[in-house]
Amino acid sequence: MSDDIFERVKKVVVDQLTVEPSEVLPESSLQDDLQADSLDLVELMIGMEEEFDVKIDDEAAQSIKTVQDAVDFISRNAS
């Protein structure tokens, strides 16, 4: 289940941040490793909301620092 979520998160990250799939690891920091700026992060959260049909409020978005954080959030909240 969480492997499947990781692969789907990875695809959103690759599309939204224009990075190579091989760069996207669970521990990758969105800002430090994947070079996302504040605008990219907003776009990324919108992309994940659409992919998983979840609502990521600002507070939750602030707490998502790594790819694994995103996977964990989706695992807890996606229907």
């Binding site: 224009t18 990075v19 504040s38 605008l39 919108i46 659409e50």
Partner: protein
């Protein structure tokens, strides 16, 4: 900044993205050959519109000028500005050092900005999805992001401006760059115009003003400035960027100089939101102001050997511009070749002045006047020498380029052969 010697301004680099080609020599080669870039609209389904033709850029790959991530974050008009600016700076061989960067201005012209992003995002919000508006919506829409992104890419930390003066924007941006170099101590300026609004809203909007040609079944002959059967302009897109440099600096580094900018003038009709004064009074003021500015360098009206006209192919513009040339140049007018390269490129709106100043500089470099194509039956009210249909050889010491925009805003720039003045 030395004040004892009058500062002068050299054109040392040119970058072009146009419907007749990307890159200086390709675009200019097509212009000299009289080959146009107007065709059916292909970038969206235009079947519901009165006008279904445009002059699209066909050979542009943004990844030649930026990485994939930058490409994804920029609107097309900004990509054109970045590409043409990179070309122009490379063409100039200008190295933007840390010392030079704060003395490098960037002034862009753009009429409408990221209209496509506006249209797409509006559809999203009308579907009740306000929380799905992209964080890149505002940065893609605002026109000055063209100048902002060029500065980011090239490291230009001097003054950074957008002229949003409709179809005069490109000429105003070059005039502003010229004044920043000549009068305000800048060592260089990257300046010109960019536009990309071949979109449903833009075409429908210009159709509503009755400004566009509807010659859908014969696109190659749709843009026909000064011709009796013209029926409006054709929307084009692209960017035309010049690198301007303070003359003595350009000379000292051995830069190739295409032309010198000798004078700049601007005016306003103060008359109507879209229609020009029918006597061309505002346009004449602009040309006269440029001549007055250039007179300090010894230029007289009789020195102007060519005018790159605004020449949109609308009924009103071409007549009033003809009158304006006569007002300013009097008996000289019939002896001055006046051509409209919009007959080939279509009307690049805010980019027009940038592209046309570049063509004017190249006309000076090569001693070749670009033609006005599709001029088959001249309008009796348009009785100047429009260089009909075929380019012509003529050595030039000085030439003028005109742009006029909605809001009655006008601009004229005078370029001269290097070392002729």
């Amino acid at each position: 900044m030395r004040t004892d010697v009058p500062r002068r301004c050299a054109v040392t680099g040119i970058g072009l993205v146009t419907p007749v080609g990307t890159g200086l020599e390709k675009a200019w080669g097509n212009i000299v050959a009289g080959r146009g870039g107007v065709g059916p609209v292909t970038c969206f389904d235009a079947s519901g519109l009165k006008t279904r033709i445009a002059a699209e850029v066909k050979d542009f790959d943004p990844l030649d000028y930026m990485d994939r991530k930058t490409d994804k974050r920029l609107a097309t008009f900004i990509k054109y500005a970045v590409a043409a600016s990179r070309m122009a700076v490379a063409d100039a061989g200008l190295e933007i050092t840390n010392d030079l960067a704060p003395l490098c201005a960037c002034s862009m012209g753009c009429g409408l900005g990221g209209l496509k992003m506006m249209e797409d995002s509006h559809s999203v919000i009308m579907e009740g999805r306000a929380d799905r508006i992209s964080p890149f919506f505002i940065p893609m829409m605002i026109g000055n992001m063209s100048a902002g992104q060029v500065a980011i890419e090239l490291g230009l930390t001097g003054p950074n401006y957008l002229c949003a003066t409709a179809c005069a924007a490109g000429t105003h941006a070059i005039g502003l760059g010229f004044e920043l170099v000549r009068d305000h101590g800048m060592e260089a300026a990257v300046c010109g115009g960019t536009e990309s609004v071949i979109t449903p809203l833009a075409i429908a909007g210009f159709n509503a003003i009755k400004a566009l040609s509807t010659r859908n079944d014969d696109p190659g002959r749709a843009s026909r400035p000064f011709d009796r059967d013209r029926d409006g302009f054709v929307v084009g897109e692209g960017a035309g960027i010049l690198v301007l440099e303070e003359w003595s600096r350009a000379k000292a580094r051995g830069a190739r100089i295409y032309a010198e900018i000798l004078g700049y003038g601007a005016s306003c009709d103060a008359f109507h939101i879209t229609a020009p004064r029918d006597d061309g009074g505002g346009a004449a003021l602009s040309m006269a102001a440029a001549l007055r500015d250039a007179s300090a360098r010894g230029i007289r009206p009789s020195d102007i050997g060519y005018i790159n006209a605004h020449g949109t192919s609308t009924d009103l513009n071409d007549q009033m511009e003809t009158l304006a040339v006569k007002t300013v140049f009097g008996d000289l007018a019939t002896g001055i070749p006046v051509s409209s390269t919009k007959s080939m490129t279509g009307h690049l709106l805010g980019a027009a002045g940038g592209v046309e100043a570049a063509f004017t500089a190249l006309a000076i470099r090569d001693g070749i006047l670009p033609p006005t194509v599709n001029l088959e039956n001249p309008d009796p009210a348009c009785d100047l020498d429009y260089v009909p249909n075929v380019a012509r050889k003529k050595a030039l010491r000085a030439a003028m380029s005109n742009s006029f925009g909605f809001g009655g805003t006008n601009g004229s720039v005078i370029l001269g052969a290097p070392d002729a003045w």
